[in-house]
Protein backbone atom coordinates (compact mmCIF):
# COMPACT_ATOMS: atom_id res chain seq x y z
CA UNK A 1 0.00 0.00 0.00
CA UNK A 2 1.26 3.45 -0.90
CA UNK A 3 0.48 6.46 1.27
CA UNK A 4 0.75 8.97 -1.56
CA UNK A 5 -1.57 6.99 -3.82
CA UNK A 6 -4.08 6.42 -1.03
CA UNK A 7 -4.18 10.08 -0.04
CA UNK A 8 -4.53 11.10 -3.65
CA UNK A 9 -7.40 8.74 -4.43
CA UNK A 10 -9.32 9.61 -1.27
CA UNK A 11 -8.88 13.28 -2.04
CA UNK A 12 -9.93 12.71 -5.64
CA UNK A 13 -13.06 10.96 -4.40
CA UNK A 14 -13.86 14.11 -2.41
CA UNK A 15 -13.37 16.22 -5.51
CA UNK A 16 -15.76 14.08 -7.51
CA UNK A 17 -18.29 14.25 -4.66
CA UNK A 18 -18.09 18.05 -4.88
CA UNK A 19 -19.11 17.80 -8.52
CA UNK A 20 -22.57 16.69 -7.38
CA UNK A 21 -23.54 19.94 -5.61
CA UNK A 22 -21.61 21.65 -8.40
CA UNK A 23 -23.88 20.01 -10.94
CA UNK A 24 -26.88 20.93 -8.80
CA UNK A 25 -25.91 24.60 -9.01
CA UNK A 26 -25.03 24.38 -12.71
CA UNK A 27 -28.46 22.97 -13.50
CA UNK A 28 -30.37 24.90 -10.86
CA UNK A 29 -29.34 28.26 -12.24
CA UNK A 30 -30.55 27.34 -15.72
CA UNK A 31 -34.00 26.29 -14.55
CA UNK A 32 -36.75 28.77 -13.79
CA UNK A 33 -37.22 30.35 -10.40
CA UNK A 34 -40.16 28.17 -9.41
CA UNK A 35 -38.21 24.97 -10.09
CA UNK A 36 -34.85 25.83 -8.53
CA UNK A 37 -35.24 23.58 -5.48
CA UNK A 38 -36.72 20.73 -7.47
CA UNK A 39 -33.72 20.88 -9.80
CA UNK A 40 -31.15 21.18 -6.99
CA UNK A 41 -32.81 18.36 -5.10
CA UNK A 42 -32.59 15.90 -7.98
CA UNK A 43 -28.81 16.21 -8.07
CA UNK A 44 -28.27 16.54 -4.35
CA UNK A 45 -30.38 13.60 -3.27
CA UNK A 46 -28.59 11.38 -5.76
CA UNK A 47 -25.80 11.31 -3.18
CA UNK A 48 -28.27 9.59 -0.89
CA UNK A 49 -29.94 7.23 -3.32
CA UNK A 50 -26.94 5.92 -5.22
CA UNK A 51 -24.53 5.75 -2.29
CA UNK A 52 -26.83 3.30 -0.55
CA UNK A 53 -27.47 1.39 -3.77
CA UNK A 54 -23.72 1.27 -4.42
CA UNK A 55 -22.87 -0.05 -1.01
CA UNK A 56 -25.55 -2.72 -1.17
CA UNK A 57 -25.46 -4.13 -4.71
CA UNK A 58 -23.99 -1.45 -7.01
CA UNK A 59 -20.28 -1.91 -6.38
CA UNK A 60 -20.41 -5.66 -6.44
CA UNK A 61 -22.37 -5.94 -9.69
CA UNK A 62 -20.17 -3.32 -11.37
CA UNK A 63 -16.74 -4.47 -10.21
CA UNK A 64 -17.31 -7.83 -8.55
CA UNK A 65 -16.22 -11.27 -9.78
CA UNK A 66 -17.23 -11.55 -13.40
CA UNK A 67 -20.04 -13.61 -14.87
CA UNK A 68 -19.77 -14.14 -18.65
CA UNK A 69 -18.26 -10.70 -19.16
CA UNK A 70 -21.69 -9.21 -18.53
CA UNK A 71 -22.05 -8.51 -14.82
CA UNK A 72 -20.37 -8.93 -11.47
CA UNK A 73 -21.75 -11.31 -8.87
CA UNK A 74 -23.22 -10.43 -5.50
CA UNK A 75 -20.11 -11.70 -3.70
CA UNK A 76 -19.47 -8.23 -2.30
CA UNK A 77 -23.07 -7.35 -1.40
CA UNK A 78 -23.00 -4.75 1.40
CA UNK A 79 -19.26 -4.39 0.77
CA UNK A 80 -18.55 -7.83 2.15
CA UNK A 81 -14.81 -8.56 1.89
CA UNK A 82 -14.06 -5.00 0.84
CA UNK A 83 -11.62 -3.81 3.44
CA UNK A 84 -8.55 -1.77 3.99
CA UNK A 85 -6.26 -4.15 2.10
CA UNK A 86 -5.75 -3.36 -1.58
CA UNK A 87 -7.53 -5.30 -4.26
CA UNK A 88 -5.07 -7.15 -6.45
CA UNK A 89 -6.60 -5.63 -9.57
CA UNK A 90 -8.42 -2.43 -8.67
CA UNK A 91 -5.80 0.03 -7.48
CA UNK A 92 -3.16 -2.38 -6.18
CA UNK A 93 -1.50 0.30 -4.03
CA UNK A 94 -4.58 1.70 -2.29
CA UNK A 95 -7.12 0.25 0.14
CA UNK A 96 -9.94 -1.51 -1.70
CA UNK A 97 -12.36 0.73 0.21
CA UNK A 98 -10.69 3.77 -1.31
CA UNK A 99 -11.21 2.45 -4.83
CA UNK A 100 -14.80 1.56 -3.99
CA UNK A 101 -15.68 4.96 -2.62
CA UNK A 102 -13.95 6.72 -5.52
CA UNK A 103 -16.08 4.71 -7.93
CA UNK A 104 -19.13 5.42 -5.77
CA UNK A 105 -18.89 9.12 -6.64
CA UNK A 106 -18.90 8.30 -10.37
CA UNK A 107 -21.96 6.13 -9.88
CA UNK A 108 -23.69 9.00 -8.07
CA UNK A 109 -23.02 11.74 -10.59
CA UNK A 110 -23.93 9.78 -13.71
CA UNK A 111 -27.70 9.49 -13.13
CA UNK A 112 -27.64 13.04 -11.75
CA UNK A 113 -26.52 14.22 -15.19
CA UNK A 114 -29.67 12.79 -16.78
CA UNK A 115 -31.95 14.95 -14.62
CA UNK A 116 -31.19 17.92 -16.86
CA UNK A 117 -33.15 16.31 -19.67
CA UNK A 118 -36.45 16.08 -17.79
CA UNK A 119 -35.98 19.18 -15.64
CA UNK A 120 -39.03 21.09 -14.50
CA UNK A 121 -41.64 18.39 -15.13
CA UNK A 122 -40.80 15.05 -13.55
CA UNK A 123 -42.58 13.76 -10.47
CA UNK A 124 -40.15 13.32 -7.56
CA UNK A 125 -41.29 9.78 -6.79
CA UNK A 126 -40.88 8.82 -10.44
CA UNK A 127 -37.44 10.42 -10.49
CA UNK A 128 -36.30 8.41 -7.46
CA UNK A 129 -37.60 5.13 -8.84
CA UNK A 130 -36.11 5.84 -12.26
CA UNK A 131 -32.72 6.70 -10.79
CA UNK A 132 -32.39 3.56 -8.76
CA UNK A 133 -33.52 1.35 -11.65
CA UNK A 134 -31.21 3.13 -14.09
CA UNK A 135 -28.24 2.75 -11.79
CA UNK A 136 -28.96 -0.95 -11.36
CA UNK A 137 -29.82 -1.84 -14.95
CA UNK A 138 -27.72 0.59 -17.02
CA UNK A 139 -24.81 2.03 -15.05
CA UNK A 140 -23.72 -1.08 -13.18
CA UNK A 141 -23.61 -3.36 -16.25
CA UNK A 142 -21.93 -0.70 -18.37
CA UNK A 143 -19.30 0.00 -15.72
CA UNK A 144 -18.68 -3.71 -15.55
CA UNK A 145 -18.36 -4.08 -19.31
CA UNK A 146 -15.82 -1.24 -19.60
CA UNK A 147 -13.97 -1.20 -16.28
CA UNK A 148 -14.75 -4.46 -14.50
CA UNK A 149 -12.20 -7.23 -14.70
CA UNK A 150 -13.52 -9.57 -17.38
CA UNK A 151 -15.92 -7.00 -18.74
CA UNK A 152 -16.41 -7.61 -22.47
CA UNK A 153 -15.90 -4.05 -23.75
CA UNK A 154 -12.68 -3.69 -21.79
CA UNK A 155 -11.54 -7.07 -23.10
CA UNK A 156 -12.27 -5.85 -26.62
CA UNK A 157 -9.61 -3.19 -26.07
CA UNK A 158 -11.78 -0.08 -25.82
CA UNK A 159 -10.10 2.79 -23.99
CA UNK A 160 -12.04 4.84 -21.46
CA UNK A 161 -9.81 6.38 -18.86
CA UNK A 162 -12.33 8.09 -16.62
CA UNK A 163 -15.80 7.58 -18.03
CA UNK A 164 -16.47 8.82 -21.54
CA UNK A 165 -18.75 5.91 -22.34
CA UNK A 166 -19.71 4.80 -18.84
CA UNK A 167 -20.64 8.25 -17.60
CA UNK A 168 -21.16 10.74 -20.37
CA UNK A 169 -22.40 8.83 -23.37
CA UNK A 170 -24.63 6.66 -21.21
CA UNK A 171 -26.21 9.62 -19.44
CA UNK A 172 -26.35 11.69 -22.61
CA UNK A 173 -28.17 9.08 -24.68
CA UNK A 174 -30.43 8.19 -21.76
CA UNK A 175 -31.23 11.87 -21.53
CA UNK A 176 -32.31 11.88 -25.16
CA UNK A 177 -34.62 8.94 -24.53
CA UNK A 178 -36.00 10.66 -21.45
CA UNK A 179 -36.58 13.96 -23.22
CA UNK A 180 -38.56 12.19 -25.92
CA UNK A 181 -40.56 9.92 -23.61
CA UNK A 182 -41.28 12.36 -20.79
CA UNK A 183 -42.22 14.93 -23.38
CA UNK A 184 -41.83 18.67 -23.71
CA UNK A 185 -42.41 21.21 -20.99
CA UNK A 186 -45.70 23.06 -21.24
CA UNK A 187 -45.17 26.17 -23.29
CA UNK A 188 -41.94 24.92 -24.86
CA UNK A 189 -41.34 26.75 -28.08
CA UNK A 190 -43.84 29.51 -27.45
CA UNK A 191 -43.01 30.80 -23.99
CA UNK A 192 -39.43 31.93 -23.35
CA UNK A 193 -37.71 29.78 -20.72
CA UNK A 194 -34.91 31.95 -19.47
CA UNK A 195 -32.27 30.75 -16.97
CA UNK A 196 -33.19 32.37 -13.70
CA UNK A 197 -29.79 32.55 -11.99
CA UNK A 198 -26.74 32.39 -14.24
CA UNK A 199 -24.38 33.39 -11.40
CA UNK A 200 -25.41 30.09 -9.80
CA UNK A 201 -24.77 28.25 -13.07
CA UNK A 202 -21.30 29.73 -13.50
CA UNK A 203 -20.46 28.90 -9.87
CA UNK A 204 -21.56 25.34 -10.57
CA UNK A 205 -19.41 25.17 -13.68
CA UNK A 206 -16.42 26.32 -11.66
CA UNK A 207 -16.98 23.64 -9.07
CA UNK A 208 -17.38 21.04 -11.81
CA UNK A 209 -14.06 22.08 -13.42
CA UNK A 210 -12.35 21.88 -10.03
CA UNK A 211 -13.88 18.54 -9.17
CA UNK A 212 -13.06 17.11 -12.59
CA UNK A 213 -9.39 17.08 -11.63
CA UNK A 214 -10.38 14.37 -9.19
CA UNK A 215 -12.56 12.67 -11.80
CA UNK A 216 -9.79 12.39 -14.40
CA UNK A 217 -6.50 12.59 -12.54
CA UNK A 218 -7.83 10.38 -9.76
CA UNK A 219 -8.58 7.70 -12.33
CA UNK A 220 -4.84 7.05 -12.52
CA UNK A 221 -5.44 5.50 -9.07
CA UNK A 222 -1.96 6.61 -8.17
CA UNK A 223 -0.12 9.80 -7.34
CA UNK A 224 2.13 9.74 -10.36
CA UNK A 225 3.04 11.10 -13.75
CA UNK A 226 -0.05 9.70 -15.43
CA UNK A 227 -2.24 11.53 -12.92
CA UNK A 228 -0.34 14.70 -13.70
CA UNK A 229 -0.90 14.14 -17.41
CA UNK A 230 -4.61 13.60 -16.88
CA UNK A 231 -4.78 16.73 -14.72
CA UNK A 232 -3.05 18.85 -17.33
CA UNK A 233 -5.00 17.67 -20.39
CA UNK A 234 -8.26 18.06 -18.46
CA UNK A 235 -7.44 21.66 -17.72
CA UNK A 236 -6.23 22.40 -21.24
CA UNK A 237 -9.21 20.84 -23.00
CA UNK A 238 -11.67 22.71 -20.85
CA UNK A 239 -9.89 26.02 -21.34
CA UNK A 240 -9.78 25.62 -25.11
CA UNK A 241 -13.39 24.47 -25.29
CA UNK A 242 -14.61 27.51 -23.36
CA UNK A 243 -12.79 29.84 -25.74
CA UNK A 244 -14.01 27.86 -28.72
CA UNK A 245 -17.64 28.05 -27.61
CA UNK A 246 -17.67 31.79 -27.04
CA UNK A 247 -15.93 32.34 -30.36
CA UNK A 248 -18.65 30.38 -32.14
CA UNK A 249 -21.31 32.39 -30.30
CA UNK A 250 -19.62 35.65 -31.09
CA UNK A 251 -19.64 34.80 -34.77
CA UNK A 252 -23.11 33.23 -34.81
CA UNK A 253 -25.12 35.46 -32.49
CA UNK A 254 -22.97 38.54 -32.11
CA UNK A 255 -21.98 38.28 -28.45
CA UNK A 256 -19.97 35.89 -26.23
CA UNK A 257 -22.09 34.80 -23.26
CA UNK A 258 -21.29 33.58 -19.77
CA UNK A 259 -23.60 30.61 -20.26
CA UNK A 260 -21.60 29.86 -23.39
CA UNK A 261 -18.29 30.03 -21.55
CA UNK A 262 -19.61 27.74 -18.80
CA UNK A 263 -21.14 25.34 -21.30
CA UNK A 264 -17.99 25.24 -23.39
CA UNK A 265 -15.86 24.51 -20.35
CA UNK A 266 -18.11 21.63 -19.33
CA UNK A 267 -18.17 20.26 -22.88
CA UNK A 268 -14.38 20.28 -22.91
CA UNK A 269 -14.27 18.45 -19.61
CA UNK A 270 -16.69 15.85 -20.94
CA UNK A 271 -14.75 15.24 -24.12
CA UNK A 272 -11.34 14.88 -22.50
CA UNK A 273 -12.65 12.43 -19.88
CA UNK A 274 -12.13 9.15 -21.81
CA UNK A 275 -8.89 10.45 -23.32
CA UNK A 276 -7.24 11.97 -20.27
CA UNK A 277 -4.92 9.09 -19.49
CA UNK A 278 -3.89 8.48 -23.09
CA UNK A 279 -3.37 11.80 -24.86
CA UNK A 280 -1.13 14.83 -24.51
CA UNK A 281 -1.77 18.57 -24.28
CA UNK A 282 -1.75 19.29 -28.00
CA UNK A 283 -4.40 16.64 -28.56
CA UNK A 284 -6.31 18.21 -25.66
CA UNK A 285 -6.30 21.56 -27.44
CA UNK A 286 -7.73 19.97 -30.57
CA UNK A 287 -10.29 17.92 -28.65
CA UNK A 288 -11.39 21.00 -26.72
CA UNK A 289 -11.55 23.23 -29.78
CA UNK A 290 -13.73 20.81 -31.73
CA UNK A 291 -16.07 19.66 -28.95
CA UNK A 292 -17.64 23.10 -28.83
CA UNK A 293 -18.29 23.06 -32.56
CA UNK A 294 -19.96 19.66 -32.27
CA UNK A 295 -22.01 20.41 -29.17
CA UNK A 296 -23.07 23.87 -30.30
CA UNK A 297 -24.17 22.35 -33.57
CA UNK A 298 -26.04 19.63 -31.71
CA UNK A 299 -27.92 22.20 -29.69
CA UNK A 300 -28.88 24.10 -32.83
CA UNK A 301 -30.14 20.81 -34.27
CA UNK A 302 -32.26 20.30 -31.17
CA UNK A 303 -34.38 23.32 -32.04
CA UNK A 304 -34.91 21.95 -35.51
CA UNK A 305 -35.83 18.47 -34.31
CA UNK A 306 -38.09 19.79 -31.59
CA UNK A 307 -37.37 17.60 -28.57
CA UNK A 308 -37.06 19.22 -25.15
CA UNK A 309 -33.73 18.17 -23.68
CA UNK A 310 -34.10 21.02 -21.24
CA UNK A 311 -30.53 21.46 -20.08
CA UNK A 312 -28.80 19.95 -23.14
CA UNK A 313 -27.60 16.76 -21.53
CA UNK A 314 -27.54 14.96 -24.88
CA UNK A 315 -26.09 18.01 -26.57
CA UNK A 316 -23.18 18.30 -24.16
CA UNK A 317 -22.65 14.90 -22.55
CA UNK A 318 -23.98 12.63 -25.26
CA UNK A 319 -22.30 14.32 -28.20
CA UNK A 320 -19.28 15.56 -26.24
CA UNK A 321 -18.66 12.14 -24.77
CA UNK A 322 -19.02 10.51 -28.19
CA UNK A 323 -16.48 12.90 -29.70
CA UNK A 324 -14.14 12.29 -26.77
CA UNK A 325 -14.38 8.52 -27.07
CA UNK A 326 -13.70 8.63 -30.81
CA UNK A 327 -10.93 11.22 -30.38
CA UNK A 328 -9.29 8.78 -27.99
CA UNK A 329 -9.15 6.39 -30.91
CA UNK A 330 -7.34 9.08 -32.90
CA UNK A 331 -4.91 10.56 -30.43
CA UNK A 332 -4.10 7.82 -27.89
CA UNK A 333 -0.39 7.15 -27.51
CA UNK A 334 1.45 4.42 -25.65
CA UNK A 335 4.21 6.94 -25.05
CA UNK A 336 1.88 8.56 -22.56
CA UNK A 337 0.35 5.40 -21.16
CA UNK A 338 2.07 2.09 -21.97
CA UNK A 339 -0.95 0.27 -20.55
CA UNK A 340 -3.20 1.92 -23.11
CA UNK A 341 -2.93 1.67 -26.87
CA UNK A 342 -2.00 3.73 -29.89
CA UNK A 343 -4.67 5.55 -31.83
CA UNK A 344 -5.02 6.23 -35.54
CA UNK A 345 -2.49 9.07 -35.57
CA UNK A 346 0.06 6.78 -33.97
CA UNK A 347 -0.26 4.07 -36.55
CA UNK A 348 -3.16 2.01 -35.20
CA UNK A 349 -6.43 2.72 -37.06
CA UNK A 350 -7.99 -0.35 -35.47
CA UNK A 351 -8.37 1.52 -32.18
CA UNK A 352 -10.76 3.96 -33.75
CA UNK A 353 -12.96 1.09 -34.84
CA UNK A 354 -12.86 -0.40 -31.34
CA UNK A 355 -13.83 2.93 -29.86
CA UNK A 356 -16.66 3.21 -32.37
CA UNK A 357 -17.99 -0.20 -31.35
CA UNK A 358 -17.93 0.73 -27.67
CA UNK A 359 -19.73 3.97 -28.45
CA UNK A 360 -22.36 2.24 -30.59
CA UNK A 361 -23.06 -0.41 -27.96
CA UNK A 362 -23.43 2.27 -25.31
CA UNK A 363 -25.78 4.32 -27.48
CA UNK A 364 -28.05 1.38 -28.17
CA UNK A 365 -27.97 -0.16 -24.70
CA UNK A 366 -28.54 3.12 -22.87
CA UNK A 367 -31.33 4.26 -25.18
CA UNK A 368 -33.24 0.99 -25.15
CA UNK A 369 -32.89 0.25 -21.42
CA UNK A 370 -33.75 3.80 -20.43
CA UNK A 371 -36.84 3.76 -22.60
CA UNK A 372 -38.00 0.52 -21.02
CA UNK A 373 -37.33 1.76 -17.50
CA UNK A 374 -39.22 4.99 -18.15
CA UNK A 375 -42.23 3.14 -19.51
CA UNK A 376 -42.26 0.88 -16.46
CA UNK A 377 -41.95 3.81 -14.06
CA UNK A 378 -44.75 5.58 -15.92
CA UNK A 379 -47.02 2.62 -15.32
CA UNK A 380 -46.12 2.35 -11.64
CA UNK A 381 -46.23 5.99 -10.51
CA UNK A 382 -46.60 8.19 -13.58
CA UNK A 383 -43.67 10.22 -14.89
CA UNK A 384 -44.95 13.78 -15.06
CA UNK A 385 -46.43 16.16 -12.57
CA UNK A 386 -49.94 17.43 -13.33
CA UNK A 387 -50.34 20.46 -15.60
CA UNK A 388 -51.29 22.51 -12.55
CA UNK A 389 -48.22 21.45 -10.60
CA UNK A 390 -45.99 22.11 -13.59
CA UNK A 391 -47.46 25.60 -13.83
CA UNK A 392 -47.03 26.31 -10.13
CA UNK A 393 -43.54 24.82 -10.08
CA UNK A 394 -41.82 21.76 -8.67
CA UNK A 395 -40.65 23.54 -5.51
CA UNK A 396 -44.14 24.04 -4.20
CA UNK A 397 -45.80 20.97 -5.67
CA UNK A 398 -43.12 18.38 -4.99
CA UNK A 399 -41.40 19.80 -1.93
CA UNK A 400 -43.74 22.28 -0.23
CA UNK A 401 -41.01 24.87 -0.39
CA UNK A 402 -40.14 28.13 -2.06
CA UNK A 403 -36.62 28.74 -3.25
CA UNK A 404 -36.51 32.47 -2.63
CA UNK A 405 -38.54 34.27 -0.02
CA UNK A 406 -37.39 37.82 -0.45
Amino acid sequence: MNAGDTAFVLFSASLVMLMVPGLALFYGGMARNKNVLGTLMQSFIMLGIITVEWVLWGYTTAFGPDHAGIIGGLDWFGLKDIGMEPSAVYGPTIPHMAFMVFQCMFAVITPALITGAFAERMKFSAFMLFSILWATLVYNPLAHWVWGIGGWIGKMGALDFAGGTVVHISSGISALAAAIIVGKRRGYGSVPFIPHNLPMTVTGAGLLWFGWFGFNAGSALASNGLAANAFVVTHVASAMAALSWITIEWLHRGRPTTLGAASGAVAGLVAITPASGFVGPVAALIIGALVSVICYGGIMLKSKLGYDDSLDVFGVHGLGGTWGALATGLFASKLINPNGANGLFYGNPGQLWTQFLAVAVTWIFAFVMTSIILKVVDVIVGLRVTDEDEEGGLDISQHNETGYSF
Binding site: P195, E249, R253, G260, S263, I299, S303, D312
Partner: protein, 112 residues
Protein backbone atom coordinates in the same frame (compact mmCIF):
# COMPACT_ATOMS: atom_id res chain seq x y z
CA UNK B 1 -54.04 66.38 -1.58
CA UNK B 2 -52.70 64.62 -4.63
CA UNK B 3 -50.81 61.47 -5.30
CA UNK B 4 -48.06 61.64 -7.88
CA UNK B 5 -47.08 58.38 -9.53
CA UNK B 6 -43.95 58.57 -11.62
CA UNK B 7 -42.58 55.71 -13.70
CA UNK B 8 -38.93 56.48 -14.38
CA UNK B 9 -35.70 54.85 -15.46
CA UNK B 10 -34.13 53.01 -12.49
CA UNK B 11 -30.85 54.89 -12.60
CA UNK B 12 -32.66 58.20 -12.20
CA UNK B 13 -34.12 57.27 -8.83
CA UNK B 14 -31.44 58.86 -6.64
CA UNK B 15 -31.52 62.19 -8.45
CA UNK B 16 -35.31 62.35 -8.29
CA UNK B 17 -35.35 61.38 -4.63
CA UNK B 18 -32.79 64.06 -3.72
CA UNK B 19 -34.55 66.66 -5.83
CA UNK B 20 -37.91 65.98 -4.17
CA UNK B 21 -36.23 66.23 -0.77
CA UNK B 22 -35.14 69.77 -1.61
CA UNK B 23 -38.77 70.60 -2.29
CA UNK B 24 -39.66 69.38 1.16
CA UNK B 25 -41.02 66.01 -0.01
CA UNK B 26 -39.17 63.63 2.27
CA UNK B 27 -41.33 60.52 2.14
CA UNK B 28 -42.09 58.24 -0.76
CA UNK B 29 -42.82 54.66 -1.75
CA UNK B 30 -40.70 53.06 -4.42
CA UNK B 31 -41.43 49.86 -6.32
CA UNK B 32 -39.41 48.02 -8.93
CA UNK B 33 -41.69 47.41 -11.87
CA UNK B 34 -41.43 46.38 -15.47
CA UNK B 35 -43.34 47.69 -18.39
CA UNK B 36 -43.17 49.18 -21.84
CA UNK B 37 -44.58 52.07 -23.73
CA UNK B 38 -42.89 53.07 -26.94
CA UNK B 39 -39.56 51.74 -25.75
CA UNK B 40 -39.02 48.32 -27.25
CA UNK B 41 -37.49 45.56 -25.17
CA UNK B 42 -34.26 43.81 -25.92
CA UNK B 43 -33.14 40.39 -27.05
CA UNK B 44 -31.37 37.83 -24.92
CA UNK B 45 -29.57 34.75 -26.14
CA UNK B 46 -29.17 31.52 -24.15
CA UNK B 47 -27.26 28.67 -25.75
CA UNK B 48 -27.95 30.04 -29.18
CA UNK B 49 -31.69 30.42 -28.66
CA UNK B 50 -32.90 34.00 -29.03
CA UNK B 51 -35.61 35.48 -26.87
CA UNK B 52 -37.26 38.87 -27.26
CA UNK B 53 -37.87 40.36 -23.83
CA UNK B 54 -40.61 42.99 -24.18
CA UNK B 55 -40.68 44.29 -20.64
CA UNK B 56 -38.16 46.88 -19.53
CA UNK B 57 -37.28 47.38 -15.86
CA UNK B 58 -38.48 50.67 -14.42
CA UNK B 59 -38.99 52.22 -11.01
CA UNK B 60 -42.33 53.57 -9.80
CA UNK B 61 -42.25 56.41 -7.27
CA UNK B 62 -45.40 57.27 -5.36
CA UNK B 63 -45.59 60.46 -3.32
CA UNK B 64 -48.61 62.12 -1.72
CA UNK B 65 -48.32 65.92 -1.58
CA UNK B 66 -50.23 69.06 -0.84
CA UNK B 67 -52.05 70.10 -4.03
CA UNK B 68 -50.09 73.34 -4.19
CA UNK B 69 -46.83 71.51 -4.52
CA UNK B 70 -47.92 69.46 -7.52
CA UNK B 71 -46.69 71.72 -10.35
CA UNK B 72 -43.25 72.10 -8.73
CA UNK B 73 -43.00 68.39 -8.03
CA UNK B 74 -43.92 67.46 -11.59
CA UNK B 75 -41.42 69.92 -12.95
CA UNK B 76 -38.69 68.60 -10.75
CA UNK B 77 -39.32 64.97 -11.55
CA UNK B 78 -39.35 65.75 -15.22
CA UNK B 79 -36.11 67.69 -14.98
CA UNK B 80 -34.25 65.04 -13.01
CA UNK B 81 -35.62 61.95 -14.76
CA UNK B 82 -35.34 63.09 -18.36
CA UNK B 83 -32.67 61.78 -20.73
CA UNK B 84 -34.27 62.73 -24.00
CA UNK B 85 -34.45 59.09 -25.13
CA UNK B 86 -37.59 57.01 -25.58
CA UNK B 87 -38.30 55.23 -22.27
CA UNK B 88 -37.93 58.22 -19.90
CA UNK B 89 -41.31 57.36 -18.41
CA UNK B 90 -44.54 59.04 -17.38
CA UNK B 91 -46.06 60.95 -14.51
CA UNK B 92 -49.66 60.50 -13.33
CA UNK B 93 -51.47 62.68 -10.81
CA UNK B 94 -54.58 61.63 -8.98
CA UNK B 95 -56.67 62.92 -6.10
CA UNK B 96 -56.29 61.51 -2.62
CA UNK B 97 -59.34 61.40 -0.35
CA UNK B 98 -57.84 60.70 3.03
CA UNK B 99 -54.42 60.51 4.62
CA UNK B 100 -53.87 59.03 8.09
CA UNK B 101 -50.67 58.78 10.13
CA UNK B 102 -50.92 55.39 11.74
CA UNK B 103 -48.82 56.14 14.82
CA UNK B 104 -50.75 59.18 15.97
CA UNK B 105 -54.07 59.01 14.18
CA UNK B 106 -53.58 62.46 12.60
CA UNK B 107 -55.52 63.01 9.43
CA UNK B 108 -55.40 65.38 6.48
CA UNK B 109 -52.56 67.56 5.23
CA UNK B 110 -50.70 67.37 8.51
CA UNK B 111 -50.44 63.64 8.15
CA UNK B 112 -48.60 63.84 4.81
Amino acid sequence: MKKIEAIIKPDKLDEVKDGLAHLGIKGMTVTEVKGFGRQRGHREVYRGAEYQVDFVPKVKIEVVVDSELVPQAIGLIQEKARTGQIGDGKIFVMSVETVVRIRTGEMGKGAI
